[in-house]
Amino acid sequence: MKLFWRIGLVGQLLLIAVAVICADLLVNSVLFESARRYSLQQEDAAWLAENTALSHRIMDRTAPAERSAMARALTTERFALEWSPRAASPPPTVTLPTLRRQMLTAEPSLRTVSFDVRLRPLALGGLIDGSTQLSDGSVINFRYRKHVPWTLNLGQSLSIVLPSLLLLVIAWRVVRAMLRPLATLVAASRQVGTRQPRHIPEAGGGDVRQLIQAFNTMQERIHQLMVSRTQTMLAIAHDFRTPLARLQLRIDAADMDTALRHEIGSDIVEMDHLLQSLQTFIESGSDNSPRRRLDLAVTIQTLVSQETDLGNRASYHGPDHCEMSVRPVAFRRIMTNLVRNAVTYAGNAEVSLAPHGTGVTITVEDDGPGIPAGQLDEVLRPFTRLDSSRARNTTGMGLGLAIVDTLVKAEHGTLVLANRPTGGLRVTLDLPGEFGAEGQSEGQAG
C-alpha cells in the first residue's frame, strides 16, 4: 500500500484500471465456467430438445408467409417462438455448451440442425433462449421459460456491476486519501506568514507528497524572509538610535542658539518616533506576550488624563472599572494610537466603553473632518497617509491605524471606521473578551 502512494497520480490511475480489468476478467471467467457447466434436469433437457426439434421440423415445412403466425400458434407458456426471415447476429451473451450437448443426446435429430442455446441477458428476463436455422436461412428464436439458477443470474449481474462497484470503491478511497492531505495543505496555506511555520507531514499520493514537500520548503522560505525582514528593520531601528543619541548629546553640549537647539531636538524626537512606530508595526504581528487581566477603563482614563494634561480636549464616558483578559501592551498601544490619532487629526477625542457579555465595545469619536468614504479601508493599510491639507503639519509614517488593525485582529476583535452623521470620525472597537480559560489563570498576584 505504501508503494502505491509513492507512484504518483498517473501510475495510480493505471494501476486502478488494471485492477478493474482483472476483476472484470475474473468475474467473466467464473461466469463462463459456470455457464459452460450448466445443465438442466435430464427430463427438462429432453423436453426442451424435443420441442426444439419439433418446432424446427414444423416451421421448416410451413410456407415463409405463414411462419410468423405458426410461431405464435406453437407458442406455449413454457416455450415461446418467434420467426425472423434473416439470421440476426445473436446478442452478446453467454452460450451454454453443456446444455447443448445434453439436448443433442436427448434428441439426436438435432445434430442436423444448426442451433444454439444461450443465457438471456438479465435485462430481457434472464431465461434460456436459443435459435435454430431453417433450411432457407431464416431463423426461429425460441425462449425457454424456466427459471435459471440464481448463481448464473448473480454471476451475470456481477459481471456487469462488480467492476463498476470496485472502481467506485477504489476511486472513493483514493480520492479521499488524496484530499485529506490537500485539506490540511489548504488550511496551512491560509496561515502562511501569520505564525511560526508548521511542518506538514507528507501524506497521500506521490504528487501530493511532492506538493506538500514544496509547500513546506516554501513556507520555511517565507518565514525566513519575514524573520530577516523583521531583523533588518529592528537592526535599522536600533542602529539609528545610537547616532541619534550622539547627536542629541552633541547639541546639548554645543554652544548654540537655544531656538536652534530646540528645533534640532524636535527633529531628533521625530526621527525617534518614526523608528518607534516602525518597530511597533513590525513587532505587532508577533506579540506572544501572555494575556493578563487589565482594567481597560483605568487604562483609557490614564490616556485621557495624559491628553488633558497636555492641554488637549479628551474625555471618557463609561464605568470606572472594567477588567478583561488582554495583552496589556497591545491594548495600551491600540488605545494610545486611536486617541492620539483623534487628537492629532481632529483636535479632540471622546472615548466611551460599554461592557457586553464577556467583551467590550469601545468607541473613539472626534469632531474633525472625518475620512472620505472611499478611503475608510485604505487608512488601515500600512504607510497610508491621507495627504489632505489638514494633515500637512502632522508627522508619522502612516502606520498608526495599521498597527491598531493588526493588534485588534490578534485580539480576535473587530475594528470599524465610520463617519459620524454629525461630522467627525467614529472608530468602533469590539473585543470579544474571554477565549476559554486562556489568560484567566495568568491574572497575576505575583
Binding site: 542602529d239 548629546l249 531636538g265 531628533i268 518597530q279 487581566r293 490614564t302 496589556p328 497575576q444
Partner: protein
C-alpha cells in the same frame, strides 16, 4: 558632600565620551568601561554609587550582566537601551534595574534620572537601595514596586502614571499618618519626567478614582487644610 562616582558601561566610544562628559559637567565622578569585564574590574577596585549600563554590550548582554550584578550587589543601576521595546523596560526593571533610559536621551533627562535614582537611594526610606522585591498590599489591592504595577482585588493590572505610582508609594510608606500637601509633593517628586507640576490634588483625585470600587471607597481621606491620610492597613510580604 563628596562627588558621587558613576560607572558608565557603554561599548560605543563616542557615545561613551559624550555621556561621560555630560555627567562630569554636572559634578559626578565618572569611570567609563567598554565591556562587562572592564566593569567588573572597576567595581572591584573602586566601587560605584551608580551604574549606567548599556544593554546591548558585545560579549555579554547587559541583561545578563545586571542579573549577575544583582546576585552580589545592590548598587543602583540605570539601564540604557537603543532597542526601544517595551519588553526591555519591563524585563530590565524586573531583574532589578532602578530605572530605564531609552536612547536617544537628552542630557537633561540623563541628569534628572541619575539624580532621582541617587536621591531615592539616599532618601529617607528605611530600606534604601533598589526597589524591594516585596509585595505591598492594602484592602485586597497589591503593589509590586519592582514591576511598578498595581493589582486590583480581583487580580487585574491597574495602570498608573509614574506620578500616580509614586504618590501611592508615598502613601503606602506612611500609612495612618497625616501627610501635608507640601511634604507629599516633595516626596513624590523623586521620579522625573511625569507631570510633577500638576497640582497634587488632581493627582490624588485621579488616584482615588482608580483605587475605589463600588463596595469599597478609596482609603485616602482629605484632612482639611493640612493634607491627606491613608487609612487602610498596609501589609508587606
Amino acid at each position: 558632600m563628596t562627588s558621587q562616582t558613576i560607572l558608565l558601561v557603554e561599548d560605543e566610544p563616542t557615545l561613551r565620551n559624550l555621556v561621560a562628559r555630560a555627567l562630569r559637567e554636572y559634578g559626578y565622578n565618572v569611570r567609563a568601561a567598554a565591556t562587562g569585564a572592564e566593569m567588573w574590574a572597576m567595581l572591584e577596585n573602586e566601587g560605584a554609587d551608580l551604574i549606567v549600563l548599556d544593554i546591548m554590550l558585545p560579549g555579554t548582554s547587559g541583561i545578563d550582566l545586571l542579573r549577575r550584578l544583582r546576585q552580589t550587589s545592590k548598587v543602583p543601576v540605570i539601564i540604557a537601551s537603543a532597542r526601544g521595546a517595551e519588553e526591555d523596560r519591563i524585563v530590565g526593571l524586573e531583574i532589578g534595574a532602578d530605572d530605564y533610559l531609552a536612547k536617544p536621551f537628552s542630557v537633561r533627562e540623563l541628569i534628572a534620572r541619575v539624580g532621582a535614582v541617587l536621591r531615592r537611594r539616599d532618601g529617607g526610606d528605611a530600606d534604601g537601595n533598589a526597589p524591594s522585591q516585596e509585595q505591598i498590599s492594602f484592602d485586597g489591592w497589591s503593589l509590586s514596586p519592582t514591576k511598578r504595577e498595581l493589582y486590583s482585588p480581583s487580580g487585574g493590572v491597574v495602570d498608573l502614571t509614574g506620578a500616580e505610582f509614586d504618590l501611592l508609594s508615598v502613601f503606602l510608606s506612611l500609612p495612618q499618618r497625616v501627610i501635608g500637601r507640601e511634604r507629599l509633593i516633595e516626596l513624590s517628586r523623586t521620579r522625573v519626567g511625569d507631570s510633577s507640576d500638576r497640582s497634587v490634588d488632581v493627582l490624588v483625585s485621579r488616584l482615588r478614582r482608580k483605587i475605589s470600587l463600588e463596595e469599597q471607597a478609596a482609603p485616602i481621606k482629605t484632612v482639611r487644610g493640612v493634607g491627606y491620610i491613608f487609612t487602610a492597613e498596609v501589609r508587606r510580604a
